[in-house]
């Protein structure tokens, strides 16, 4: 025993000594049930980078996406579910092991359709349980993996094609092989610093034969190059030991990207899309790559090779092939001619998957989601439930519920509600722009929405009420050089003047009349480096001057919420400039940016809400092959800056949001998710609750609801509802065993339950929970002993029991503002009106939490909906009638209970002695006759239902009045009077039977040792009856 005490003492001492130290919790330990809400939308979906299916089960299909992870369908494409949330969301390729297709999957991260906005990957992953769990198996620095090929006879033998980094030199490129299931890797064919493997094919009929395409490529922030001397196609016939170049029949000179495919039904037949200086187009080999025949140079075959180098051949017919492109096209004659697919599918097709059993049916991955065809491409239909939209930016308004605005990669600009009856559906979203959408803003007071398309080619002011559009784009005026707008040009709303907006080229343009008239208020604030302005030359072998590479432009503009004269500007070539006089004079503070390499893209400046000289600047170096995180804070108008980055953060950052209340509460969006600090950046914690590792491009904080709204580049809009508990977190709080967070009064919304028109295949974004809440922190998970929560009114009466949450960290429990259901009389069928719980009146209520022996109490305030037109008197009249009917419902339940008990007694009497049979039978008959008028005693719960009796009539009135809003009408009062009278008559009748017939039976029974009936009290009944 002594030893035990010592042991306990030691442990307590140990724990206490810990308690003195600072508590730093990981996201899994801190955020508990504070969860993100993914509202999509899915109606425009997003870019699909790779499609692959199960080799023998046509129901299973995988879609790899450009920025939204991997999605699996197990129902032939009717619905898809995300299966890769915890890892990098940019997907290069997905592979299914042909030997263990239900178990082993591989994912190579890093999209290979390398547009300017593409996200990055971080290696190769493997699952051995069908995609439930994933393990990283290496290639951390690969950035982009193009291909994974598995030996169909040996699962341990896997080949990987690594394309490698887009933005800089890297040695981690080429063809790699493992023979031990991924534990060790050998490089079989090296690339070079700028040339990697863009396609790798293994001959399923002879796994020693491999084909590899290598691509020389490089992107900078201001240009793109595809092609060079090092792009080539190779073949190996000895499992990758030796390789030979296979260009017999191809043009000479510099080559770009290849689209390489083998016909599954005939390994000798290969197709290659060739990007070359001359004779570019489609080539075909019928001898396993030994020679090539030039077939076709149609637009669909040569368009943007960096984006569309994918050919897929029908698994059964080597003459049928699909080519990715601006429009997908199909050949039925072995590549001689092509026809575009039909139907209204999204442009920019990247990949295809043929159904293994029926080639008429195939899937198309586009910039706007997955499409299906049932008639070999004659028509197409969209999969409506893959919410992988790529937002560049989001903003919010102050409506109730507030709306979310934002622009999308190749999918226009939109706004939609943060909450909608029945959930947020496709029909709730309104389009407000074309092309690539970027920054979308709501005028603070007027019904106008500003939206823009790429490079500020269009800047619209859209009148939502009148459905009118005015293009308010900025034009050059006399003396201006060519205006340089970023692809994602900064359109910004003033926080101080409602009609003021800003737009950045290399200059800051301001309009004080909502875009009608513009004034230039700055000189060129960029480095204006002419070497970075040759976009006409961009593209390499295939010219590609879309405007996406415009550089030396302003990228972020922020007017201080505290002083309209203070304006911050950040440029894509690394400058930070600030004016304190509304643009008359500008200070270039770039040289003060400690630790940020020169010319690093300034992605976002957040002007502080607490000090007009304070701001945060976020720099993104990934377009210079620099994946570090740069977040700096100044408090002196940029004279000095301090980094607030720690090793806790993974990935380069793009955006930061400062809280409006707690200066130390900051939210940081990185390439791999969301990070939160509660101490001004001394420690950061990743937020992972229903929050994938998706690139967060923009963050807003809604000031009324305290909702954190994120524009993600791959998973649509993600919201964390009400982050206010985080404001209260401190070391003191974290050291408490239990801490209950303060709460604002809750509004009980007056709203109907109508809403929702989507069918099962459409994505529906969940609504926020508007229940009353108690938010509490537990230092340790509650695992042993009882823990309960109930809500009491001011008299201590229990309104409802609430299921306690017991995680370590933050827990949120909710209460639906209702009491318990009334006890319902037992009948043959259900009384559907009885499944209604009354709403409680406004007032003060208390959450009472019992955890072991400790009790915690938390008072909350409930208020009526201020939007409602009801008077207090209306509400009181309604509440009075509801409770009258509630009590009548329970009175009736008690009456029927007593009748049933009396029948039981009579039956017992009958069984006890035959001489009691007659009196018993008479009593039972009287009781049953009465009961038949009180509850339904025949029929079923559907159309076989019997006529309504008193229970059902009370239930009908009760449920209608309880779920209504407002004073009951005269019909309801009149109906109530009838029901009250009927109930009283029934009670009287029972008393009569009891006094007369039951008493008689009891008297007779006493002669045969039968005791009198024991009647349970109403209180006892309430306690015991279920």
């Amino acid at each position: 025993m002594k030893k035990t005490i010592l042991l306990i003492a030691a442990v307590i001492g140990y724990t206490v000594s810990f308690a003195q130290e600072q508590i730093v919790l990981s996201g899994d330990e801190l955020f508990g049930s504070l969860k993100a809400r993914q509202i999509g939308p899915a109606l425009m979906s997003g870019r699909i980078s790779d499609l692959v299916g199960h080799p023998t089960n046509a129901r299973i299909i995988y879609a790899g996406t450009a920025g939204g992870g991997v999605w699996k369908s197990a129902d032939g494409g009717s619905s898809f579910t995300s299966i890769f949330d915890k890892h990098a969301q940019s997907i290069g390729t997905v592979a299914v092991d042909p030997n263990q297709p239900d178990q082993v999957l591989w994912v190579g991260t890093g999209e290979t359709w390398t547009r300017n906005s593409t996200s990055v990957g971080d290696g190769l992953y493997k699952s051995t349980d069908g995609g439930v769990n994933w393990t990283k198996v290496g290639f951390d620095k690969s950035e982009r993996i193009s291909s994974i090929q598995i030996n169909p006879k040996n699962s341990d033998e896997v080949y990987v094609g690594v394309l490698g980094p887009l933005w800089g030199d890297s040695d981690e490129r080429g063809v790699y092989k493992t023979t031990d299931g991924g534990q060790t890797w050998e490089r079989l064919l090296a690339g070079s610093n700028d040339t990697g493997c863009s396609e790798l094919i293994l001959d399923k009929n002879n796994p020693n034969i491999l084909y590899a395409a290598f691509w020389q490529y490089r992107r900078t922030a201001w240009g793109f190059n595809s092609g060079g001397e090092k792009s080539a196609m190779y073949k190996s016939t000895d499992g990758g030991k030796t390789w030979k170049k296979i260009h017999n029949g191809l043009p000479s000179g510099k080559m770009g990207r290849f689209a390489l495919a083998m016909a599954p039904s005939d390994s000798k037949i290969l197709y290659a899309g060739v990007e070359s200086e001359k004779d570019k187009g489609l080539y075909k080999s019928t001898d396993g790559g030994e020679s090539w025949e030039y077939l076709n140079k149609d637009f669909g075959l040569v368009v943007r090779p960096f984006y569309f180098s994918r050919i897929v051949v029908d698994p059964k017919n080597p003459d049928i092939l699909l080519k990715a492109g601006l429009y997908a096209s199909m050949s039925r004659d072995g590549g001689k001619t092509f026809k575009e697919l039909g139907g209204n599918y999204h442009s920019d097709a990247h990949d295809f998957w043929f159904d293994i059993n029926n080639s008429d049916r195939f899937y198309i991955g586009t910039d706007g989601g997955v499409y299906r065809t049932w008639d070999a491409g004659g028509n197409t239909e969209m999969v409506n439930n893959i919410p992988v939209s790529q937002f560049y930016q989001v903003s919010v308004d102050t409506a109730t519920p507030y709306n979310v605005y934002g622009g999308l990669q190749d999918n226009g600009s939109w706004f939609g509600p943060s909450s909608s009856p029945g959930g947020i559906e496709a029909r709730d979203w309104t389009p407000v722009g074309y092309g690539d959408g970027f920054r979308v803003l709501k005028h603070p007071t007027k019904p106008y929405v500003y939206a823009e398309m790429q490079g500020a080619e269009g800047v619209w002011r859209y009148d939502v009420e009148r459905n009118q559009t005015r293009n308010v784009k900025v034009f050059a005026v006399e003396g201006d050089p060519k205006l340089r707008f970023n692809w994602n040009a900064p359109l910004t709303q003033s926080p101080n003047k409602a009609d003021r907006i800003y737009l950045g080229s290399q200059f800051v343009h301001v309009s004080n009349d909502m875009g009608n008239n513009w004034t230039k208020i700055s000189p060129d604030l960029t480095t204006n480096d002419p070497k970075k302005q040759n976009q006409e030359e961009s593209g390499g072998i295939s010219k590609d001057n879309s405007g996406a590479e415009n550089h030396c432009t302003i990228f972020t503009i922020a007017e201080s919420p505290l002083d309209e004269k203070v304006i911050w500007v950040g440029t894509d070539d690394g400058n930070v400039q600030v004016t304190q006089d509304g643009g008359k004079t500008w200070s270039n503070v770039t040289t003060n940016l400690n630790g940020v390499p020169a010319n690093t893209w300034c992605y976002h400046i957040e002007a502080s809400n607490f000090n007009k000289g304070a701001a945060y600047a976020v720099f993104d170096g990934h377009t210079a092959n620099d994946g570090n995180t740069y977040v700096l804070k100044t408090t002196d108008f940029g004279k000095t800056w301090k980094s607030i980055v720690t090793d806790d953060i993974y990935g380069f950052a793009r955006n930061i949001q400062e809280d409006y209340v707690n200066e130390n509460l900051l939210f940081l969006g990185t390439e791999f998710g969301l990070y939160v600090t509660i101490d001004g950046g001394a420690h950061w914690t990743q937020f992972t609750n229903n929050m994938p590792e998706v690139a967060v491009h923009y963050i807003e904080l809604q000031p009324k609801t305290n909702d954190l709204v994120m524009g993600t580049h791959g998973r649509g809009v993600i919201i964390i509802d009400d982050i206010s508990p985080l404001r209260e977190l401190s070391q003191d709080v974290l050291n408490e065993d239990v801490h209950i967070f303060a709460s604002q009064p809750f509004i009980m919304p007056d709203e109907s339950s109508f809403g929702g028109g989507s069918n099962g295949s459409q994505f529906i974004g969940p609504n926020p929970d508007r229940s009353a809440k108690m938010v509490y922190y537990l230092k340790k998970r509650h695992t042993f002993g009882k823990m309960t929560i109930e809500v009491q009114n001011q008299n201590g009466q229990v309104m409802q029991e609430i299921d306690a949450k017991k995680q370590r960290g933050i827990n949120i429990v909710t209460w639906n503002y209702r009491m318990k259901l009334p006890k319902i009389a037992k009948g043959k069928t259900f009384d559907f009106g009885g499944f209604t719980a009354p709403r409680v009146p406004a007032g003060t209520y208390t959450f009472v939490m019992k955890k072991g022996k400790a009790e915690y109490r938390h008072e909350i305030e409930l208020q009526y909906d201020p939007k409602s037109i009801l008077t207090l008197a209306d509400r009181k009249a309604q509440e009075e009638m509801v409770m009258k009917l509630y009590n009548m419902t329970q009175d009736l339940a008690y009456l029927v209970f007593k009748i049933d008990e009396t029948v039981d007694y009579a039956n017992m009497a009958k069984d006890a002695n035959a001489k009691l049979g007659k009196s018993s039978a008479g009593l039972i008959e009287s009781l049953n006759d009465l009961k038949k008028t009180l509850v339904i005693t025949t029929g079923d719960n559907y159309v076989g239902t019997a006529d309504k009796q008193l229970r059902e009539k009370i239930g009908d009135l009760y449920s209608v009045v309880a779920d209504n809003y407002g004073k009951p009408g005269n019909g309801q009062y009149a109906n109530l009077a009838i029901l009250e009278k009927t109930l009283e008559e029934a009670k009287t009748k029972y008393s009569y039977i009891k006094n007369k017939e039951l008493s008689k039976l009891e008297r007779a029974g006493s002669k045969y040792d039968l005791g009198a009936m024991q009647e349970k009290s109403f209180e006892q009944f309430l306690k015991e009856y279920k």
Binding site: L7, I8, V11, L25, S26, D28, E29, L30, G32, K35, N57, R59, K72, A74, D75, S79, F80, T81, I83, D102, Q103, D129, G130, V132, N689, K780, R781, H782, T783, F784, G785, K786, M787, Q800, E801, D803, A804, K806, Q807, R808, N816, R818, K820, L821, I824, K826, K828, T829, F830, D831, A837, F897, T938, G939, D940, N941, Y942, G944, T945, A946
Partner: protein, 257 residues
């Protein structure tokens, strides 16, 4: 018993600090040891649980019975009426139809799947090898804010919509005291197909020397759970065999119309 559990936890606490390697067998063995001893678990013949589910103000009382031979019974009460669900007599799975309130047999796949899991009593880890199940330790993972051993339990394949599919459950054993606190499994059919079913275990309490979770949450990951609050557990209960049997001669009351 309580003291024993505390001590075991404390010792485990120290052990964790000093040794990191645990095998899956050790974890399972510790679990049974900490919750009453493997022999006591093996001696168990039946469990009767009384519980309730709270749905927005509606308290639904539930009675569940499980026997060592795989038979099971579940009944809940609504407006004074008893409704049975998922009853299994070793041969037939059946329950009450909500419209007619009459018993109906479950489909053949449900029945077959129930038979394949009928050896799970009282815990799928107990007779794992006899049942042909296998367990694998996947490593440590934090869930519910708590560091756990994540164990993959592979049971017999299930039949889903005409196909055999793997039947895998992931258990999270609290690394401090070795009791499972969460179970996850992929949903294989229906509208939630592909999503993760999440079951939480808490409020462990002692019943005649064995520890049981008295609160079991069941739901879909990231979409909320419904808690079954257990109020009483009776070990080796006396049960009338007839309750498991499908009432073949049930009166087929149809409408009076």
């Amino acid at each position: 018993m309580k003291l024993r559990l505390i001590l075991v936890s404390l010792i485990a606490f120290f052990v964790i600090q000093t040794t990191s390697a645990q095998t899956v067998d050790e974890i399972i063995s510790n679990y049974f040891e900490n919750t009453g001893g493997i022999d006591n678990w093996k001696a168990l013949k039946g469990i009767k649980m009384t519980a309730s589910v709270n749905q927005g103000g509606m308290d639904i009382p539930i009675t569940m019975i499980q026997l060592a031979d795989g038979r099971r019974y579940m009944k809940f009460e609504l407006q004074g009426k008893e409704i049975t669900q998922g009853v299994f007599d070793g041969d037939v799975v059946w329950g009450t139809n909500f419209m007619t309130m009459e018993p109906e047999k479950s489909d053949s796949e449900t029945t077959e799947n129930t038979k394949r899991e009928s050896g799970d009593f009282p815990d799928p880890f107990l007779n794992m090898k006899e049942n042909g199940y296998s367990a694998e330790l996947l490593g440590k993972e934090t869930i519910e804010g708590t560091e756990c051993f994540k164990v993959k339990l592979t049971k017999k394949p299930q039949l889903v919509d005409g196909q055999e599919v793997d039947n895998i459950n992931y258990y999270y054993f609290d690394s401090e005291n070795f009791v499972p606190i969460v179970m996850e499994a992929e949903i294989k059919s229906g509208q939630m197909k592909g999503k993760t079913r999440l079951t939480t275990f808490s409020d462990y309490q002692e019943v005649d020397g064995l520890y049981f979770p008295f609160a079991i949450g069941d739901g879909i990951k990231d979409m909320g759970t419904q808690v079954i609050n257990i109020t009483a557990i009776e070990l080796n209960p006396e049960v009338d065999d007839s309750i498991f049997k499908f009432p073949e001669s049930a009166e087929t009351t149809t409408s009076d119309n």
